[in-house]
Point group: none
Chain length 199, copies 4
DNA sequence: GATGAATGAGCCTTCATTCAT
DNA sequence: TATGAATGAAGGCTCATTCAT
C-alpha cells in the first residue's frame, strides 16, 4: 500500500516534469539546477529523486513527453493527405512548425541531448526514430504506388530532410532570421521531389 | 631585442594549438582543463595565456586552423571539375570525408561551438560561412550556364546539403555506423539533382 | 519536518563563525581559505555556503558578533558612572581594553574591512557608528548639565578619541609596545577635559 | 664603468617611481601590476627589477618620496610661527591639507602599508616618525618656555593628533564628506589646548 | 513519504619574479 | 643593459546527489 495514492504520484510526476521543462527552457540544462526545479514544483530537492533517477533522466523525461506529443501531431497532419507530395509538404511544414512553437525544447534536444554520449540507445533516440520514421513510411507507400522512384534511399532522404530543417531552423532557434513554414515547405518539397537540375 | 625568436614563438603557438586540439578531442571542451593542455604542450599553465586570451579563444584557434585547412581542400577538390553534378558530388564526398577524417573536431564544432551563445558573429561562424558558400558559388555558376533551374534557392540548398551530411555523419561521429563517402555522395547528388519523384 | 533541528543549525552557524574568527585572526582575511575554515569547523567546504553567502559575509558575520559584544560591554561600563570625566575615562579604558583583549579582531577590522570599498554603507559601518555614538551621547548629556562647554564639537571629539586610541593601540596590535589601559585612560581624559596649555 | 650614465639611471629611477605612483594611485597596490608600471614608464617589466627589488620596495619608494616632500613642507609651515598654539594650528592645517591634496597616497599608506607586517622597522616608519616628531619638538619647546603644562605626554598627544586627523580625514579619503582644513584646525587646536570641560 | 542539510570534487586565471637571449 | 617569455602557485564557489531525521 503506497503512502500516497497513485493519482497523487502521477500529479507529482507531471508537476516535476513541467517544472523541469520550464527551468530547462529558461536556463538550459546546465544552467537550471535541481533546486530551481524543486522550487518551481513546490517540493523539496530530495523528492525529485523519488521520481527521477538523475537530472539527466529528468531531461529525458521532458523530451519524451515532447516527442510523444509531436509524434501524434505529425502523424495526424501527414495522413490527412493521400498523395506523396502533399504528405511530404505537410510533414515539412509541421516539422518546421515544431521549431517555431517549441524553440526552447528543440534547442535543448539539439544542444544537450543529441550531442551527448548516452544518446545512443536511449529512449529519446527511439522516439526520435519513431518520429522520423513517419517519412520512411510515406516514402515506402509512395514507392509502392509508383509515386516515387523505386531506388530511392529512404534513410538517406530522412537524413536530408530532417538535417536540412534542423539546419535552417537553427538560425530561428538562436533568435535570428524568419522561418516561413508554409513557403519553405513548398520550396523544399519541390527541390526534393523534382531535383534542381534541368533535364 | 625580443627574448626569444619569432620562430620559437610560432612553434610554441602551434604546439599549444596542437595540444589543445588533442585535449579537446579527447575530453571535449569542458572536460579538458588548461592544465591538461599545458602538460601536453610541455609548458606551464600560465604560458597558455600569453598566447591565448582564454580557454575559449583556444577553442576558436583550434577550429580556425581546422577550417582554414578544410576550406582550401574543399575548393581544391570541387574546382577540379567543370560540370555542376560532378562538382556537387565532389563537394559532398569531400565534406563527408572531413567527418570521417576529423571526427573529433567535427564533434567539437557541432557540440561545443555552434550551440554556444557567442557563436553568432564569431570568427568561426564567418569561416563556416565561407566554407559553405562554396556551394552557393557552384550553384550560381550552374544557374548561369543553364545546368541548374534558375529559380533554385541556393541558400535552401546549402542548408539541405550541409544539414543532411551533418545528420547522416552524426552516427559516424558517435562511433556507430559506416560512412561510405563515395557511394553516399553519388546517391545524394542524384537525389538533389533529379529529385525522387517519377515525373 | 526540517532535516536537522534549529539548535543544530545554530550550533553549526556558531561553529563556522568561530572557525572563521580563528582562521582570519591567524592568517588575515585573504590569507585564510574557505578550506581552512571548513577544516577548523569540521565540516565540508560547501556547507559554509549554506550558512554564509560568501567569504566576505563570513568576515562581516565575525565582526558583527564582535561589535555586538563590545557595544554592550561599553555601554555597561560607561553608564556605571554619572559624571562626565568618569564616563569618558571609562570609555577610553574600555576601548583600549578591547584592543588588548581582541587584538586580532581589531587588526581585522582596521586592515581588512574599514579600508575596503564596500565598507561604506555596510552593516559593519552601522555597528561601528553605534559603538562610537556612545561618546556622542555622553557628551550631549554633559553639555546639557553644564559639565562640558556648549560649543564642543562632539563629532570632532569622537574622531579625536577613537582615532587617537586606534593610533596608540596600533603598536600594541602589531605586537610591540605596552598598553597600560588604566594609566593611558587617565592621561587622555585629562588631556581632553583640561587641555594641555597653561591658561 | 656603468653601461649607462648615472644621470640616465637617476632619470629612469624617477620615471619608474612616477609611473608606480600613478599606477598605485589609480588602481591601488594590489590592483596595479608591474606590467602596468613598466608600460607607463615605457620600459620592460624586467627592467623594473634592476631598480627595485620587489613590488613592495616600489611602494615604499613612492611613499618615501612622498614623505620627504611633506616633511619639508610641514617644517616650513610650522616654524613660520613662534607661539605654540599658532604652530599647532599650522601643523594641523597642513596635515589635513596633505590628505586633501594627496588623497590617493594617503589611502595607500593607510590601507596598504601601515597595516602590513613589514611596516615595523621599515624606512617608511622611520620617515613617518620623523614627520610626526615635528609635533614632539614644538611641544617640548613649548613646555620649555612655559606655554604647555610640564607634565604633558608629548607622545600621547602625537597619537591623539595624528590619529584624530587620520580618522576624520578617512571619510574624505573615501570620497565622502568635506574637509575644511582651516576651520577644523582651529577647532581641534582649541580642543587640545583648552580642553572641553568647564573648569 | 518528505525534507533539506551535508558532501566534496573540480578549475580558470593572474601576476610577481626570474633568466635565457 | 634590456627585453619579455616563462614560471607556477593558489582558492572561491556551485550543485548533483545522498541520507539522517
Amino acid at each position: 500500500m503506497p503512502a500516497i495514492s497513485p493519482e497523487r504520484m502521477q500529479d507529482r510526476y507531471d508537476a516535476i516534469l513541467d517544472a523541469a521543462k520550464q527551468a530547462f527552457a529558461e536556463k538550459g540544462f546546465e544552467g537550471a539546477s535541481i533546486a530551481d526545479i524543486a522550487r518551481i514544483a513546490k517540493i523539496s530537492d530530495g523528492l525529485v529523486y523519488r521520481y527521477f533517477k538523475s537530472k539527466r533522466e529528468l531531461l529525458y523525461g521532458v523530451l519524451q513527453k515532447f516527442y510523444a506529443r509531436i509524434l501524434i501531431d505529425l502523424e495526424h497532419e501527414v495522413f490527412k493527405h493521400d498523395k506523396f507530395p502533399a504528405r511530404l509538404e505537410a510533414l515539412i511544414k509541421r516539422h518546421i512548425g515544431v521549431f517555431v512553437a517549441d524553440t526552447d525544447l528543440c534547442r535543448l534536444f539539439i544542444a544537450e541531448v543529441r550531442t551527448s554520449s548516452d544518446y545512443e540507445g536511449s529512449a529519446i533516440q527511439d522516439l526520435n526514430r519513431r518520429y522520423t520514421s513517419v517519412l520512411i513510411r510515406i516514402v515506402r507507400e509512395a514507392v509502392g504506388n509508383g509515386e516515387v522512384k523505386p531506388d530511392t534511399n529512404a534513410k538517406l532522404l530522412r537524413d536530408v530532410l530532417f538535417g536540412a530543417i534542423e539546419h535552417l531552423a537553427w538560425r530561428h532557434v538562436n533568435g535570428r532570421g524568419q522561418l516561413r513554414a508554409a513557403q519553405t515547405a513548398r520550396e523544399l518539397t519541390a527541390m526534393l521531389t523534382s531535383g534542381i537540375c534541368i533535364d
